[in-house]
């Protein structure tokens, strides 16, 4: 590989967007080329410098304005049209508060799911039962929770089941199923469905992706640091299994 080629692909190389062959070729060129190594070091320094540029978060007043708009449309949608005019006046105050409280319940659950995921990775307590065999994992839950979580191995879709454990969310015992995708861990928390919890949900929090859905009386929460496309693929595989 020539220095010109390295220079051409340097950006993609540093962004880890090159395929593995091209990246390997550059890496081996770098071991013998001082000039290109210096170029890489320079570009890395440039990256650090550029990332020190200001990040502009949304101003609070903008966030409030947009939240008020969505709350208003929700409020207006719930009541008869004659209430709409009154809603505009009310939503600035009481309406917004009430609706925001209602909307706050599920995000709290998202936080708990992410906490549960992080806890399982940090405390080195990923499994109570470590097995890739669904016929070992499923019976293990018998007598530990008062429901039978559906347990399927998804190795054929590229998401092998690696184990399960008993966990707690909102103070309730839940079955945690653990799947693996390369080095990424996916936790799926399963519990009996609760009323008022029905809508599907996709959310990101603290760098983790969370999917929620209900099926056959069970409530599912899948969480992982896996990229969203692959987690979506996983969720589909699980839903159609």
């Amino acid at each position: 590989m020539s220095c010109e080629l390295v220079e051409r692909d340097l950006s993609a190389y540093l962004d880890r967007e090159l395929d593995i062959d091209a990246a390997t070729a550059i890496r081996s060129h770098l071991t013998d080329c001082t000039a290109c190594r210096r170029l890489v070091a320079e570009r890395e320094a440039l990256g650090r410098l550029v990332r020190s540029a200001p990040y502009y978060p949304a101003p609070e007043r903008l966030r409030a304005r947009i939240s008020a708009r969505t709350s208003r449309s929700r409020f207006a949608g719930r009541f008869l049209p004659w209430a709409a005019a009154a809603t505009v006046l009310v939503s600035a105050g009481i309406g917004v508060t009430v609706m925001r409280l209602a909307a706050a319940a599920r995000p709290a659950m998202v936080d708990q799911v992410v906490d549960g995921h992080v806890r399982s990775l940090m405390a080195d307590h990923l499994f109570d039962v470590q097995s890739t065999d669904q016929h070992t994992v499923k019976p293990w839950f018998l007598g530990k929770v008062d429901f039978a979580p559906p347990v399927v191995d998804l190795s054929s879709s590229g998401f092998p089941l690696v184990g399960g454990r008993l966990d707690y969310l909102s103070g309730q015992p839940v079955a945690a199923l653990v799947y693996q995708r390369q080095k990424h861990t996916i936790n799926v928390f399963v519990s009996p469905e609760k009323s008022g919890d029905a809508a599907d949900l996709v959310r990101s929090a603290r760098g983790f992706h969370v999917h929620h859905w209900d099926r056959e009386g069970m409530s599912f929460w899948a969480v992982s640091d896996l990229n969203d496309a692959e987690l979506t693929q996983f969720v589909r595989a699980l839903q159609t299994s």
Binding site: A12, L46, P57, A199
Partner: protein, 173 residues
Amino acid sequence: MASQLFEETVLPHLDAAFNYARWLTRNDSEAEDVVQDACVRAMRFFSSLRDNNARAWLLTIVRNSWYSRVSRRKEIPESTAGDHDPGERPDDALDPEERLLQQYTVARVRSALEQLPVDFREVIVLRELEGLPYKEIAAIVRVPIGTVMSRLSRARERLTTLLTPSDSMGRLP
């Protein structure tokens, strides 16, 4: 309910939307207008969000909102130096030296980024400040991945020139 889902799927990306708009417009109040426009559109077309990538979807709408404002004003997206906000100049003599230096660096980086043509600036912002993969950037900017790659590469060359002091022997710090 759709609006609740909207709050949960789209609003978490409001910071990303504003940051992107702010770098496109280089102006606070205009960025607010762009993001507000974008959110109104996003609410209206929320049902068209098919895949689960709400962030890329919202950023695409932000870009469209910005673009339609700019073209309404018949303004060609600039490719020359932008205005400098005097507010960030490190002019407080009471600050410790290090703080001054840091402020100075940030101001220089900001000004270098603002001097980039908008086609280059947006890919740098999406890549370096949002950390998006090329595929997502390509979807937002609506160009092939190869174009994202070459724009990033040229933008970085340009930034290297802009940020390398011409009056000293030093390269990048």
